[in-house]
């Protein structure tokens, strides 16, 4: 009998604990939800509490009762002068320990110290997670106040089209306090500005930097094997000749002409995009997205695919490139196992994490001239940008932070500390003679290439609508793996474009 009762007691205790825990979780969740939703109105209240009590004590805890449609909820908020500031969440993609994060944190701290009303709260989001998280948070109506993007359709314009992003045009037409005398928009590189300006003419993003793609090479390897170095104004035939010479002189060694990691597909796309840009021209590429009279399956697009496969045929790349990532290719290039790599300007910083010595010898060169090209200077590139979500309660403050972040002083830190080209024009950077001397050969050559470009074509995997992006990335691995033909690739791209034009209501 004793046993029965105690077992029953135990069961009922477990049941009570279970129910209590369940109810606790639900109440906690509801409380947290309500607490989160009503935070803003209470902040103004607590500010007054703090001010009134400031003479007595520095920290006050106040209890505020808020009535919401779901019923009364009691929220206790500890109020100190720092908490009274409203947070502006900022999503960035820079990992702990990266130079870019140093740069961001320097200016976040500066802003937070100076600004009385709000403070920037940076949140790190991993690159791939960001791509889905930003979509779901936008759909759910709780995006971060300031969010990372790369301009273009995928992560900026399609949110702007739904009215979820603040139109920055009025701010852009005024001067930034850090560069007086000119409208803020005039201080940016025009090619980058175009990537954050939607077809409605409004500006939705602030480009932070310029990253572009070109051919990088290792001067030391070329010297070691006594092979003529790539130079600007070289031709497609010279390019192929250099590849042949490298193959001859490195026969039997695990050293290859060009590093490629195409499992991610956008690395192969660099070649395809440049070939298309050179053969069809910047104007065509820019318009083809929206103009039903143009096509993606023209001779130029087919020729671009053929050039890609030509490089595969002559053995320009390391073996197994379709199973390797961009990071694997960067490792090969950094370790001196490849003479060249067609990749973005971030390669220098990335390569340093694999090898401290070799990246010092990195240099950059323009793409070779192709037979029948119509464009020879424009670039494929882009880079990080920030935008402000419509849900942000203090857009003025968010913009003020962005203006500080785009100030000449901040952009110089980007150039010298992070080795990344600034998003504003060099003339507004105000480089001193000494600073100019400090620039590395690589940075100088990068700036030279950037200064010649009048148009910067955004990466197709970020700038175009998802339906075309999918087709582009889907076809690149097959193109380089030679399981499809250049004609089939061009057709697939055109089919996707037609579908997009239909969906967008253009045709």
């Amino acid at each position: 009998m004793e046993g029965r009762i105690s077992r029953r007691k135990a069961l009922s205790t477990i049941a009570k604990v279970g129910i209590a825990a369940g109810i606790g979780v639900v109440v906690g969740a509801v409380g947290g939800y309500l607490g989160g939703r009503v935070a803003t109105p209470t902040v103004t209240k607590t500010e007054t509490v703090t001010k009134a009590a400031a003479t007595v004590t520095s920290t006050v805890t106040s209890t505020v009762t808020v009535t919401s449609p779901a019923g009364p909820a009691t929220v206790t908020i500890p109020t100190t002068p720092t908490v009274a500031k409203a947070p502006l969440t900022l999503w960035h993609l820079w990992t702990e320990g990266s130079a870019q994060l140093d740069w961001l944190m320097t200016y976040v701290e500066k802003f937070n110290a100076e600004n009385p009303r709000t403070y920037i709260k940076p949140v790190y989001v991993e690159n791939e997670i960001f791509k889905r998280q930003i979509v779901t948070s936008m759909a759910a109506g709780n995006p971060p106040d300031i969010f990372h993007n790369w301009g273009g359709w995928m992560y900026l314009f399609r949110f702007a089209k739904e009215g979820k992003v603040v139109d920055l045009t009025p701010y852009m037409n005024d001067a930034s306090p850090y560069i007086p005398g000119v409208p803020w928009k005039e201080t940016f590189l025009p090619g980058r500005m175009a990537q954050v300006r939607f077809t409605d003419g409004k500006i939705y993003g602030v480009p932070l930097m310029l990253l572009f793609e070109s051919i990088f090479f290792n001067r030391k390897l070329f010297e070691e094997y006594d092979i003529p170095m790539p130079r600007n104004e070289w031709t497609w035939d010279e390019f192929k000749q250099i590849i042949e010479e490298i193959k001859e002189k490195t026969a039997g060694k695990e050293i290859y002409p060009i590093a490629l990691g195409n499992a991610v597909a956008w690395t192969g796309l660099i070649y395809y995009m440049y070939f298309v840009l050179r053969l069809a021209g910047a104007d065509y590429v820019e318009k083809a997205m929206w103009d039903p009279s143009l096509r993606f399956d023209t001779d130029e697009f087919i020729q671009a695919g053929k050039l890609c496969q030509e490089l595969v045929d002559i053995g320009a790349f390391n073996p197994g490139f379709n199973g390797l990532r961009d990071t694997d290719a960067a490792m090969l290039f950094a370790n001196g196992q490849a003479f060249m790599e067609a990749i973005g300007t971030w390669i220098y910083g990335q390569a340093l994490s694999y090898n401290q010595e070799n990246p010092k010898y990195f240099d950059v060169v323009a793409w070779p001239h192709f037979p029948g090209e119509v464009d020879s200077v424009n670039l494929v590139g882009g880079g990080d940008a920030y935008a402000v979500a419509k849900t942000c309660k203090y857009p003025d403050d968010a913009v003020r932070f962005l203006q500080l972040f785009l100030s000449p002083e901040s952009q110089k830190m980007l150039l010298f500390h992070c080795n990344v080209l600034p998003g504003i024009k060099t003339e507004y950077l105000g480089l001193t003679k000494d600073e100019e001397k400090q620039l590395s050969l690589l940075a100088k050559h990068e700036m030279e290439l950037a200064s010649q470009a009048t148009y910067i074509c955004n990466y197709w995997d970020q700038g175009l609508p998802p339906i075309i992006t999918e087709a582009v990335l889907e076809t690149m691995i097959a193109l380089f793996g030679k399981t499809t033909t250049p004609e089939a690739v061009a057709k697939k791209l055109e089919d996707a474009r037609q579908q997009w034009l239909k969906e967008a209501g253009i045709i």
Binding site: R8, V264, N322
Partner: protein, 291 residues
């Protein structure tokens, strides 16, 4: 006298109603939402547009979907055909043979299971590395040609399946070991005294006695294979040339989060759920019958 709390309050509510409510809310609910969404065209941000069965028709004519499904079936066959028999065999040897250091072997076989898949994927990517990777160096020293393990569309799916088999065999080994230790020792002893060979002992005594255990293993292997994601995602991110190493879960992920075809991927998810449910249901019934 104080009234005792009722049976409902003590048992039904905490142990049946609450878990059921959670199950309905977080498992079955989303499944029905997915079914509902599968009739719409939706990019995850804009407004939803009703398109009837279009997503389902697209699913049936999608080559990649069937290719991915085929790869899942291959994985299931490899799991049932290799992982379970090998696990069973290893467990059998460890049980009947007087081997020293049984604990060491038990730990060693189970070891791959305790690593996170991401670490295993990176480790094996290094082993398969096409430029100077250890496996290719070994082939070279044996005078064999190098193989592009993860880039060649004809073999990359097998390269990944090999790693999955390597990782999961230990799991089925442990399940078999547990099943075998439930068999009464007297039965085995008397079979040995009667002069049964090792093979007969295994096929006539052990396997029939752990039938329900094996059915359970098959259930876990099939449903697990259909939903498998990790190694395929990290080792052959793009699915390889022409989606040669795509599986349903990676294709689903790409459709949802990379290409924002939420409606379409909901149709795919519903299909996957149905298939997994039917197969799971069939095998669970076999388990119930066997026991």
């Amino acid at each position: 006298m104080r009234k005792h709390p009722s049976f409902f309050m003590q048992i039904i509510l905490p142990f049946i109603v609450l878990p059921l409510a959670f199950y309905l809310l977080f498992r079955l609910g989303p499944a029905f939402v997915a079914l509902y969404t599968s009739f719409f065209k939706w990019d995850g941000v804009g407004s939803m547009k009703f398109i009837g069965l279009e997503n389902w028709i697209n699913l049936i004519v999608d080559d990649v979907f069937w290719k991915a499904f085929r790869n899942n079936i291959l994985l299931a066959i490899a799991s049932i055909g290799i992982e379970i028999p090998v696990g069973l065999f290893l467990a059998y040897i460890l049980m009947i043979e007087p081997i020293k250091g049984k604990i060491f072997f038990r730990t060693a076989y189970f070891n791959p299971m305790i690593f996170i898949p991401a670490a295993i994927a990176l480790l094996w990517k290094l082993i398969y590395f096409p430029v100077g990777g250890p496996l290719n160096n070994l082939l070279l020293q044996l005078g064999l040609p190098k193989i592009d393990w993860l880039g060649d569309p004809n073999i990359n799916v097998w390269s990944v399946i090999l790693v999955v088999v390597w990782q999961w065999t230990g799991w089925y080994f442990v399940l078999s070991l547990a099943g075998m230790s439930a068999i009464p020792l007297e039965v085995i002893e008397s079979a040995i005294i009667d002069g049964a060979s090792r093979f007969r002992l295994l096929t006539k005594i052990i396997i029939p006695l752990m039938k329900s255990n094996l059915f359970l293993q098959i259930t876990l292997a099939t449903t697990g294979s259909l939903m498998y994601f990790d190694l395929f995602w990290i080792m052959v991110e793009g699915g390889g040339p022409g989606h040669s190493a795509e599986v349903l879960a990676t294709w689903l992920y790409k459709q949802t989060f990379m290409w924002s075809k939420v409606g379409y991927s909901c149709a795919m998810a519903t299909f996957l759920t149905l298939i997994t449910f039917l197969i799971g249901f069939y095998w669970i019934r076999q388990v119930a019958r066997a026991s």
